[in-house]
Subunit: 383 residues, 4 copies
């Protein structure tokens, strides 16, 4: 590995996404024969103390307390953005202008306007961009894409995508940043709805062309989170308004003529991380549920569904890992993402999904919000 | 059984639905202690020869070739309508006016106007009415209703209902009556979409108050069926237009505030009769798929889903049958329906779903069609 | 149907097996084009009152209180034996000697000697014999047999058969006849173990050639049943010894070289009627669980397992019933059995499994008991 | 992390097991708050070139080409043995005598005698020992153990354990070391049968006290492997005898009275790594299949089985990783193992399973072989 060109990585943010990205940077080289050897150079966070502790635990060599400093450093060629959506555009545009490659957590931005600015910045910069829709790199999802691409499903007629979670069913769950519009942009829609839009578009090779939507906020007031500014001000007893959707449903059409339905919710009691997609074509179908992420179910010729354990050497990404039947976990989707990103950077090509692909998802999110906000688009049942 | 009051039954139609209704009439008394002993009196069909053969095979004592004659008979107190939707209103109204009890296949009618006329006829007649939404009588579905009624799921937030079939994926499948609007009223929407609307309304105890919908006909021209009039006229080579939907998707709200999504399609390759419903409440969830009809999946307290084999003596309808683990089949849902119908008739109460309940489903179907037909209710994704 | 030759049926016993056999006799003609029209002539039971009530409910025209009288009747050509195992030999041999055809519940007898006498009686009588291993007539099991026969699994290497129930886990469950050796012959072994032996032999086309076995009685004393003679004598508080096995395990070899494992138990808490079989061959595998009786899981070419919904018109027995995806239940296995029995009787051929096939199962049961009784066949682990 | 005591690790072997152990050593500190900071010091292998390449890829600082040198080094306090079974005893005993802690791949040895020598060496040495039965550290298996320990299953009556693979079904698969008795000790029995013995003993807290067994070698001659000495000598066309079992079946009793069945095979076509265990107790049951490793199925109170997604913060090991529903993979079982090993070393206690526990498994393997070899323990079915 020592004779490979090293490329310096700087990461902004060290919460959930930062931890799993770190795991990917740390391990990718042990399993994939990479064109570039990533060096876990710098971690940026606001608190010196906490950032240092995170860096020590996750293996980052140095820290910065201002992401602008991280971008300025010569030993950083790649900027990995793991912050909430409200800072994506600022960091990404600055990094691109500084000539860095950028990988950014999803959704790309909190608004279409921000996403467009990011795409413009990418277009005029030398750096490569990627938006981190990691579920594309689940081997089963990548295999699903391969099947569709090979025509094994025929003409696609139906897409049925759901992302079901239940982590805020309890009305006493606090008002974390993901429930605040100014930080997160939207709720279930942008956080997990974005994933199923991207997954559906990726697997089918089509994009969503129109939608009808409904959104809902079931619990409209929640206790302030322990570390929120508001909480301190009010003595700890206060609540605040949930300013994002708890759930978003929409139906629509894909560019190739398929009918599609989407549902993203954090109120599906008993479902923990059920990113599900089923696709029906004229010749076959496939179904996937991330809660059983090593399985892809495929029906061909009108027959029953076959449970494919996606752990064979010829399945996407799998050859690098363990023997058949020895499954992978959530984190490996990020390892695969980093591998593909590094390969694209080395080749001077655009990784997928690029910022431009992320913008396309952003536009679907915007259309969903527009549809859901317009009551005239809804038909009452006569009583 | 000999000391029970006998009640005469006349059935109109002997195709798929007629066969399964006959099976129910023949067996219901051997398993349930009925207040009335049904006598399989008369079967009506247009062809004397075919009707007689069907009657002999299925156990009907006599035949008529005109349903009006069947209604006129004094030995017929119950009229069971198993014909396509275009004749439901005529037969049912005539039967009601003749003082008969009526059980009618679903959907209740081909239009809201017809269904309203049927409900009016029922309101001014002594006979009891029932619309044959048999899936309510799947023990697992009846158990699901019991769970919701007992509050075990808490406040209902999500309904996710699908009815997936694939029997017309082949473009060479002929233009049978179910694909003709004048006979069937609509396609997947009325045939199987009606079932999931009724099931969702039954299980939740709520009704659909508004929708946004999309429908599609994927294969618009098909070979004429062997026995169709058109075929004879054209020498067998002709095709005709499919005048109903192949698939219908809609999202909406339930009267209690839940978000709901519905999908009915005959193009879900590999899915044979997947009537599925998942309901998420504030305290628990349940899931069902008719392809595994003896199972109900229930999650309580945020935990995993439990696969309940709905074959215990205390489960709805099950005590009459076999020991635990010895499952029932499709036909038993009709046996249960007939049992409930006879009990209601004997008690002089209205069975559920009555014609009035059937009208409510019809109005949802109409709203779906109205929404799907209006392009202005659809939001394009900016490109 | 009126022009078909009628054949008179007399049934002995009207408990669980009697009820399900009645259901089969009542319905078989409505679905299958039979060579003979069965007439539900006579039901025999000890109590005149209870037998008459059962006959009325289940549709038998007449009753007898002595099975010898039933056999003597000229209007009875088929004797259907639904009694506990201790009376099988007496009834069957008498019926055969009287020139009747006999269908007998499983296991064929309580001992090899009895079974041999039955086979001898069958050999010298004109009547046809069948032992009612109904699970062979589950469409999925019949399809499994077809696959093996066609060579799709290649050379069979493994058979893994289990029959798991839990209905006597509660130590307060009473000492019913199935827990008494003099009536039942053995416990789980003969009652449900016999089924998996027959099923394994049927599907593979091989027979069990040798075994090593363990049996156990977990609860050795139980309350006497409410209707048992002993209970009345003791004032209701007494218990009695369980004289049969609660569970039986054995491993062995099949005649074609496969390794096989079998387990029959009534103590598998949470398993209700899990008759399971998995077979692995050099080219493919299959798996079945009666708790999902409409499904057969098949793996070919080393790939994943396909869930075949065994409801297609070309699947065994299925064409007579409902459209794809509209599943069958437990009772239909008996309907299929009666259909095959009547066809064999009409053709003058031996139905399968005949008494001779039943004897083969009986011999495996005897070998299991012999092995389990001999501690020297068991190897202690050094401590 | 910098202020923790560092402990040097030396690993022998860098094939499949070496790769996954390396992954565990590399990552354990990023997720668990360890008492000792492991340093990936030295990797030993016979070929300098290949060992160096492996060390570079997997992150080992230095290499040795003789394991004796590795043991001699002062910067190595832990020796991790990832070689075939024939060298376990030599390496482990030497390491123990040199005062090292030892973690050794399973099965502990190729014979009981070797295992006994290892246990004796451990008893008189200061180092701690562990045998790497990694499946104990699947969170679902650890949760299963917790349930049994808490008494939620009541008295254990049945253990049903299988380890099903299919990687040598093809008769052209070469004669690798795992198929040679001198290197591997036994075949499926020691390789994967050892895992299910350990898992069953761990989860139940009981040990196997006696067995009846059958073993088989289905394919007795195979092509020599490309890198085998024999192959070179014969010009590549030669085959050699398979000297181990392809499959092993046994039934037995556990020390607490449960009946148990075990099956280990490499000929279960379509099963890739199906380590399965089902346990039935007087109050509940549980079931697990490694092919869906993040799920544990639990039945309580005689009800249905609940699919527990073992990804909750309070499940064993899981709190260190990702949010609910974001599953783990095969490799994480090793990470957990290393974590537990390091904690035990730091506390000066014996990790489980220690070499003594490994010996207990070895004795079961020996009893199985003894039983299988003795035809008099097998009962022929009378014909």
């Amino acid at each position: 590995m020592s004779d490979k060109t090293t490329i310096g990585v700087g990461m902004v943010g060290y919460a959930f996404m930062g931890r799993v990205h770190s795991q990917a940077w740390r391990n990718v080289g042990a399993f994939f024969d990479l064109p570039l050897a990533p060096r876990m150079g710098v971690l940026a966070g606001r608190s010196k103390e906490r950032t240092s502790a995170a860096a020590a635990q996750m293996g980052w060599a140095d820290v910065e307390t201002d992401w602008r400093e991280l971008i300025r450093r010569d030993d950083v060629q790649i900027v990995d953005i793991c912050t909430p959506g409200d800072s994506h555009a600022d960091i990404a545009i600055a990094a691109l202008e500084a000539g860095k490659h950028v990988i950014c957590e999803k959704p790309l931005a909190n608004t279409v306007a921000e996403a467009e600015a990011m795409v413009r910045a990418a277009a005029s910069a030398p750096g490569r961009t990627m938006v981190a829709f990691n579920y594309r790199r689940v081997p089963a999802i990548a295999l699903a894409r391969r099947y569709v691409e090979e025509g094994r499903l025929g003409e696609i007629r139906h897409v049925r995508a759901q992302y079901l979670q239940d982590w805020i069913v309890d009305p006493d769950f606090p008002l974390v940043w993901r429930l605040q519009k100014d930080k997160a942009g939207s709720g279930a829609l942008g956080d997990i709805g974005a994933h199923i839009i991207d997954t559906a578009q990726f697997v089918t090779g089509q994009h969503v062309v129109g939608v009808s939507a409904l959104t809902e906020t079931f619990v409209r007031e929640r206790p302030l989170a322990a570390d929120s500014a508001g909480l301190a001000a009010t003595g700890g007893a206060a609540t605040g308004p949930v300013t994002v959707d708890d759930a978003a449903l929409f139906i629509g059409r894909m560019s190739g003529g398929a009918l599609a339905s989407f549902e993203a919710t954090r109120f599906a009691t008993g479902r923990k991380n059920a990113l599900r997609i089923e696709i029906n074509g004229s010749r076959g179908s496939l179904a996937f549920d991330f809660e059983a992420m090593n399985e892809l179910w495929v029906s061909e010729g009108g027959g029953g569904f076959t449970r494919i354990l996606v752990t064979e050497p010829d399945h996407p990404y799998v050859g690098a890992w363990w023997p058949p039947g020895h499954g992978l976990g959530y984190e490996h989707t990020f390892t695969h993402e980093i591998k593909d990103f590094l390969e694209a950077v080395a080749q001077g090509s655009d990784p997928t999904p690029s910022f431009a692909d992320g913008l396309r998802v952003q536009r679907v999110l915007a259309a969903v919000e527009q549809s859901a906000a317009d009551a005239s688009r809804y038909t009452l049942v006569e009583d």
